[in-house]
Symmetry: C2
Subunit: 345 residues, 2 copies
């Protein structure tokens, strides 16, 4: 086991000082051509690479982005991560990913951990429990210490940071409008409780679409489920009840899982998709694409969202000290992917 090569070792080996080695490797004109070449040759031969930790300490800059998300086993979040990762890599940044598991305490712990020198800034999607608690002291703390934060997808108000959002309302509007255009008139929605920002916004989009087509919103056709990332037995039962109670000709859901479970129930009841009931959902993942019938979806372009979030953060990290603080909200356009679960125009 060979010890890692350091400037000090090179210096000793070549009988020069540490500073000479450092300067030679950074092509300083202070060092003579001859010495420079000798040192560089040696460093190359033994594959010297500067120690990142030492550099971080020296520069007070880690070139690392901390990403905190509620879940990793989740198609949308992984696409976002992919986008973040690519952009970070292009700008020579590292990415540390932590999972909050939708748990407030874990989110706080992770942030504190990463804030103690590990990262220069954060990209974050807020945990469900944090939204419920409305306790954002951990966010304000890191921001107060000068670390920029970019929130995405699950965001909260009243924090000094940038935001990158899907245009949830518009996406839902388009999705529902598509069903209306293809003749649906009694459209239900499977959504979440209002404290989940994306759920609330998608519900609003749903209502706006109906209204713009002159269809009156019927509260009974709105089912608000507890959880946006799962669809356990309790939710499945509620969905079944909801569908059998209301004679719908279209269903809009805020995620794939709700849609698939609705489809399963419809299938069991002998209803045909899309002949009897049309189905559109948010999130364009594996399920939508591969289901029979394949599902018409509102695609969220997670990768683009990740790229954008990373760009914004890196921009903040590399802006000159004196630049004015400004916070923006960026919207990522959704697009409607038409598949077999809706009738054609």
């Amino acid at each position: 086991m060979r010890r890692k090569l350091t400037l000090k070792l090179i210096a000793k080996e070549l009988n020069v000082s540490i500073s000479t080695v450092s300067k030679a490797l950074r092509d300083s004109p202070e060092i003579s051509e001859e010495t420079r070449e000798k040192i560089k040759a040696f460093a190359n031969l033994y594959n010297y690479k500067p120690n990142n930790i030492a550099l971080s300490l020296k520069n007070r800059k880690t070139n690392t982005i901390g990403v905190i998300i509620p879940q990793i086993v989740h198609h949308f979040f992984t696409t976002v991560i992919r986008g973040i990762e690519m952009t970070a890599r292009e700008h020579n940044y590292n990415v540390i990913i932590c999972l909050s598991n939708n748990d407030f305490d874990k989110e706080v712990l992770n942030m504190e951990l990463l804030a103690n020198g590990s990262t220069d800034g954060f990209i974050l999607s807020v945990a469900k429990e944090t939204m419920l608690k409305e306790d954002y002291h951990h966010l304000n703390e890191v921001i107060d210490q000068g670390m920029p934060v970019v929130m995405f997808d699950r965001v909260v108000e009243g924090i000094s940071c940038d935001r990158v959002l899907i245009d949830d309302k518009e996406g839902a509007r388009n999705g529902v409008a598509h069903m209306l255009k293809t003749g649906c008139r009694k459209i239900g929605i499977l959504t979440t409780k209002d404290y989940v920002s994306v759920g609330r916004l998608r519900t609003e989009g749903y209502m706006e679409a109906l209204e713009s087509y002159g269809v009156k919103v019927d509260k009974k056709l709105i089912l608000k489920l507890d959880n946006i990332d799962e669809c356990g037995e309790a939710s499945q039962k509620k969905i079944a009840d909801f569908i059998s109670k209301n004679d719908l000709d279209g269903i809009f859901t805020v995620n794939e899982l709700f849609a698939v479970n609705a489809a399963k129930f419809l299938h069991r009841e002998g209803k045909r998709i899309p002949e009897d009931v049309s189905l559109v959902c948010f999130t364009d993942g594996l399920l939508s694409e591969n289901f029979i019938p394949s599902l018409t979806t509102v695609s969220q372009h997670g990768e683009e969202m990740g790229r954008k979030a990373a760009e914004i953060l890196i921009n903040k990290l590399e802006r000159p000290e004196d630049e004015e603080e400004e916070y923006h909200t960026t919207y990522i356009e959704t697009s409607l992917v038409q598949r077999e679960s809706t009738r054609s125009l």
Copy 2:
């Protein structure tokens, strides 16, 4: 924007030396009760937290695990990551995740980057291109520098490291055996080219199962596709051809995507699952669970795999210097999840 509190600042504020502060905070008996309390109170009040980077440099230990995987938008890998993350957190380790994108150069780059001080060890699933190239110099290099490596799922031979594997062969055997037990006799397999370790092993398991039931292996019933993580149009076409050419009563696939595409084709051809054709696949993900019919799968327990890999790595990292090097391969048991795509016994 408040600057982060350091030992130095505390020292200046309280008119003591830096070492006194450090010792006081670590409850050294060298410091008088009075001074200790004063310092601790101050540190507490202003929420002092030691700087991780400085600690890493001092201790030559980062308490960080580097994870390099081919893909993140991938159900199985995310479950593994979840396992790694949980275990790491329990042992006070951080996790840095890098994506190789199945690309050799990116894998090398990522490893070199992380090896320069950022991590203490690696958990890794080898990129497809690396397996093809059979160039493992980057692995040998970090190992040579004393960083332990644990490979999982997509592993290669001839490297001094631990391995955590699904018992792929046994999983495939069980899956195929289940079809045989329920009466299938002409079972095809959708797998990958042999250089993908998991594909090869699963194919072997398939063959063993057939043989143990006295069914002769027919090479024509084995379709080897290029890619294990996608099922593009070319593959879809091959699958369709394969199925229509052979009159199968059972299909085993090495992943969900192949299975679902097979199911789609069967559906189009009017074949019923499982009445006409049974279907079993590797990987228990969202698709299998939610497809209609839901799919019988060989579940890989990715989370357990991640936990195990992390445990092994952390163990290596914390073992005494003089302990002997030993490398083990750990197998994670699979389990068969029976659903609607196979007939009942």
